[in-house]
Structures are given as structure tokens and as C-alpha cells.
């Protein structure tokens, strides 16, 4: 089985998922992990898929043409063997909420601190909420902490960013339990 990463972006409307997955089903693709969401007015799809015979972009032929004709942007990445396997990331899971009056650099400055400290971001979502006059930026990060790092450490590291950007930041670890 060869694996591919497929991304599709286009103006949101009903029927996109159906049109895309019909093509993939008819091509004989197996869908694995995927994430599809509305971002702004755009519907975005990111899919990891496998195919028993296909090896390259060319294998799909003109299969995606109907999507492009429907004004969707399609990009396909051929994965190297093993590229579809999620690595086992050991460590405590930590949720970080950041929100405040919208201004440039919120994502960058928070991510910079986390990157420097080897905190692995596993999920990140941002949303512009509030009103047009008073836009509020909200970011929620899920990250895995390196061994020996506690919730309080992350709080301490982010304190200067909190003051500089005038945003609220809360950090909380989520214990993983086997029941």
C-alpha cells in the first residue's frame, strides 16, 4: 500500500465532502486520518490515504479534474514509506488557551517560546471571534510536554509573552488514564 497526503480547499458549500470522497472511493483509495473544517469561508480537507497500486500523482490521471472544474484547489503529496505512521509521542498532554484583542504575532510569539523549549505542538486551532469593532483572537493548542516539564514551567515560560501581547493564557495538563 502506497500513501498520499491530499489537500483540498475551496469556497464552502454543501456537497464538497461527498464529491471528493466519491472520486476517492471509485479510484479504490483507503482513507486513513483526515481533518476537514471550515476556515473563514473556505472548506478545507486534509486526508491521508492509501492505494494498493498507485505510486505517483500520475496514477490518479484526470480523477481530480471535476474538483478543479468546481473551483476547488487540489494538492497531492506522495508519502515516503512509513510517512503515514503516527509517531508515538511520550509525555503529558497539555492544553494551552490564548485569547485577547486581535493583533499581529500572537501565534508566532507563543509558538516561538514552545519551540525553543522542545514542546511538541500536536494540534493548533485559531479563530477570530468577537465583533467587527472589537475582534478577539482565540487560539487553542494541544501539546506534548518533554519529560520533566510541568504545567507551572510552561506558565512561567509564557508569562513574558502574556505581558508583551496583553493576552490571557491558561495552561492545563490533561492526565491520560487507562480505564
Amino acid at each position: 500500500m502506497n500513501h498520499f497526503a491530499l489537500t483540498i480547499v475551496g469556497r464552502d458549500r454543501p456537497g464538497i465532502v461527498s464529491q471528493v470522497t466519491e472520486i476517492l472511493f471509485n479510484q479504490g483509495c483507503n482513507l486513513a486520518d483526515s481533518s476537514c473544517s471550515i476556515l473563514g469561508g473556505q472548506f478545507t480537507m486534509i486526508l491521508i490515504l492509501g492505494h494498493p497500486e498507485f505510486t505517483s500523482r500520475e496514477s490518479f490521471g484526470e480523477a481530480f479534474k471535476p474538483l478543479e472544474d468546481a473551483d476547488l484547489t487540489v494538492a497531492l503529496r506522495v508519502l515516503k514509506p512509513g510517512g503515514e505512521i503516527r509517531p508515538q509521542i511520550e509525555g503529558d498532554i497539555c492544553m494551552i488557551s490564548v485569547y485577547g484583542a486581535d493583533k499581529p504575532g500572537i501565534v508566532y510569539h507563543v509558538a516561538q517560546v514552545l519551540g525553543e523549549k522542545q514542546v511538541n505542538i500536536t494540534d493548533l486551532n485559531t479563530k477570530l471571534v468577537g465583533t467587527e469593532e472589537r475582534p478577539v483572537y482565540v487560539m487553542v493548542i494541544e501539546a506534548v510536554l518533554p519529560e520533566g516539564v510541568e504545567e507551572e514551567d510552561v506558565n512561567t515560560w509564557l508569562a513574558p509573552t502574556r505581558d508583551e501581547l496583553q493576552v490571557d493564557i491558561t495552561v492545563r495538563t490533561i492526565p491520560t488514564v487507562e480505564l
Partner: protein, 167 residues
């Protein structure tokens, strides 16, 4: 008595509602003991419900006293027949895993404090107040009696954020 094998999803038994136990007789006590033996044998487990060993009766056992998160706040080994939550308050998110769904965990919000009524191994009605990890474990196991898995409770942060905005 016996260590039983644990059913793994998609075994259909895991999605069925278990029947109440009419009387805590020999057969009910045998189920309790099998659950305890199976839980202890699995090493890392803090609880197990009867449907997980293929028995569709409302019986569960929980013991968080040996786990890091539960050792300071617990009732030791709890053996519950026909458990029912009669009060709940607060909320707590934990990333739950389940022996019946290997290799997957998900964030689940549950009540932080619960009052639960049940019949014990000796047929006596008991009411206890549980909180924290013990409360989460009881709620997780009680869900098994109703054919619910933690996958039925998972909510993504994306969805939460989206819902709040669309109000």
C-alpha cells in the same frame, strides 16, 4: 475465580444495554469476582464492567487506590451491582483510554463529583460520594453498562469553540 478475556470493540456486546441484577446471588458474586480477578490481572487497569467480559448484567468494579492519580482520594476496591448516579456536579476533563479500545485515547468531560447508589457483594444498599479520578472511573465503567464507550463522549475542542461562537 477466573481471569476472563476482555472483549475488544467492535464486539457487538459492548454496545448493548446490560440487564439489572435481580438478586445478589451466587452467580452475581461470581461475576464480581471474575471482574476483580480480570482487573487485577491486567495490571494497569483501575476498573472494569461486566459487558467487557461478555456478561450483560449491571455489575462493575473500580479500584483507583493503586494509581498515582487516585491514591490520595478513594474508597479502595468498589464492587457495584446496579449502580446509579443520583447526583453529579462540577466537570473534569481527562484523556481516557479503554481496554476495549486499544491504542486510542480521547478527551472526555465528566462530572467531578458524584453520589452513587449501588448494592454491594453482600446485597446491602450503599451510597457513596466520589470525586476526582475515582468519580471519572465510576462514570466510565457505568457507561459500559449502558452500551456507551468513551468514543460516544469525545468532543473536540474545535467543535466546542465553534458551538460557542454560533450561539
Amino acid at each position: 475465580m477466573a481471569v476472563r478475556s476482555i472483549l475488544i470493540y467492535p464486539d457487538p456486546i459492548l454496545k448493548q444495554v446490560a440487564d439489572p441484577v435481580e438478586a445478589v446471588d451466587e452467580s452475581a458474586v461470581a461475576v464480581i469476582q471474575d471482574l476483580v480477578d480480570t482487573m487485577v490481572d491486567s495490571g494497569h487497569s483501575v476498573g472494569i464492567a461486566a459487558p467487557q467480559i461478555g456478561v450483560l448484567r449491571r455489575v462493575l468494579v473500580v479500584d483507583v487506590s493503586k494509581s498515582k492519580l487516585g491514591k490520595s482520594n478513594n474508597h479502595g476496591l468498589l464492587e457495584m451491582v446496579n449502580p446509579e448516579i443520583i447526583e453529579k456536579s462540577g466537570s473534569k476533563i481527562m484523556r481516557e483510554g479503554c481496554m476495549s479500545i486499544p491504542d486510542y485515547t480521547g478527551n472526555v468531560t465528566r462530572a467531578e463529583h458524584i453520589v452513587v447508589e449501588f448494592t454491594n457483594r453482600n446485597g446491602q444498599l450503599r451510597v457513596i460520594e466520589a470525586s476526582g479520578f475515582e468519580a471519572v472511573a465510576i462514570q466510565h465503567e457505568l457507561d459500559h453498562l449502558d452500551g456507551l464507550l468513551f468514543l460516544d463522549r469525545v468532543s473536540s475542542l474545535k467543535t466546542d469553540l465553534y458551538r460557542r461562537k454560533s450561539k
